[in-house]
Symmetry: C2
Subunit: 207 residues, 2 copies
DNA sequence: CGATGACTTGAACGCCATCAATCGCTGTGG
DNA sequence: CCACAGCGATTGATGGCGTTCAAGTCATCG
């Protein structure tokens, strides 16, 4: 979609590369650019003063992030792995927006998609138990990055934990339990290469 | 803001009244109308199959709700008390939206405000303990409906609990604790009439 | 090899949920 | 006017789920 924006509007754009763990932008920083993941993965998070962290979303290839309506970023974004992004100057969008209603429509759609995801995540964080959370996570990722039924998770157990609002040990225990139940298996001991064997079983846990 | 929309665009609109506990619209129903609270209060929630409930937002006078980009509502909305709403047919907006970029901008702003609230709530649900949650709730409501320093909460302890992702007893205990600490007091035994005595104390608990 | 970091697994604790009793206010009917 | 049912809220007791602390495993890399 950003590509569409870019091509439609001839806004100034470029590519940027980030290595593992690098900050792309920080919370409350001026939102001068918006981003699209070309390759790699990004996490967006908020922090409490004592370091507790809540990851709001993972951004995978194709996803747009850093799109704010206000002037400042509301999350900190970091590359989880070696990541390439497409970057668009925000200002260059603003002129276009004033004259092109279809463009604003696109922004609105993107924002609404965002909203929908976050609303569902709120239900998970407020009301689901740990197994349901991990099952929901697996199904989400399964839908988003399964290449030939093998998921190559870019994020650590800690990242998953901070996304799901639980301790990292809890994530680990749930995954082991799912393996015992035959819902999934790890690809020859690679702890981030997961094959889903029984999506229905996970879905039953989740709903 | 809806008023602005209405007056700007001469879209068809009307008023509706709902009594305590009535459903205004249900999740997954066609989103034919959008609403603004004139008087009263509304809660929006999602349900899990076994009845666990997560309230996503409380809508107070002036607030707009039920604004969807897709064709279906993503929450169920119910009147918490006797409530009057201003209603606008969604279709009548759509024509306007195509021609008037400022109008789409307004919708985008509203959606973004929504998003911001939900993002902050995600941090609360994922990472805050029970006292922090209740403190945050009190401060939010204090900012939104304090008339002369007295809050008249329209919602029950159960509603608050389902908003904060805790048990209703936990809400009750936290409020009692805050009272003991001198952070608040109840107006002559009215359990929903709260006076905040030490907002700074609550804020310290929250951050 | 030894060191480091990610992950798993075990044990114990603690926060909060659950269950249950009680209080207090409201409204209804005798 | 009082008795009583009904509902929301508070408070207490108990238990469980998930956190925390700690040890151990495994892969990677110097």
């Amino acid at each position: 979609m950003l590509r569409t924006l870019v091509s439609q509007s001839k806004v100034s754009s470029g590519e940027f590369k980030y290595s593992l763990g690098t900050e792309i932008f920080g919370q409350a920083e001026p939102a001068d650019y918006i981003y699209q993941v070309i390759e790699g993965a990004v996490r967006s998070h908020k922090l409490l003063s004592d370091g507790r962290r809540q990851i709001g979303a993972f951004h995978l290839p194709g996803d747009i992030f850093g799109l704010e309506n206000g002037d400042f970023h509301r999350f900190t974004a970091e590359a989880i792995v070696k990541t390439t992004t497409c970057v668009v100057k925000r200002q260059s969008l603003e002129g276009v927006v004033k004259t092109d209603p279809a463009m604003v429509q696109s922004l609105l759609t993107m924002t609404t998609d965002n909203l929908q995801h976050v609303e569902n995540h709120m239900l998970l964080l407020g009301r689901k138990n740990s197994q349901e959370r991990v099952a929901a996570f697996l199904l989400e990722m399964h839908g988003r990055l399964a290449a030939a039924d093998v998921m190559a998770l870019p994020m650590s157990r800690r990242d998953i934990a901070d996304y799901l609002g639980v301790a990292l040990e809890t994530v680990s225990r749930a995954l082991s339990e799912f393996q015992r139940k035959g819902y999934l298996r790890f690809l020859n001991g690679m702890q981030r290469q997961i094959v889903i064997l029984n999506a229905a079983g996970l879905a039953e846990l989740d709903r």
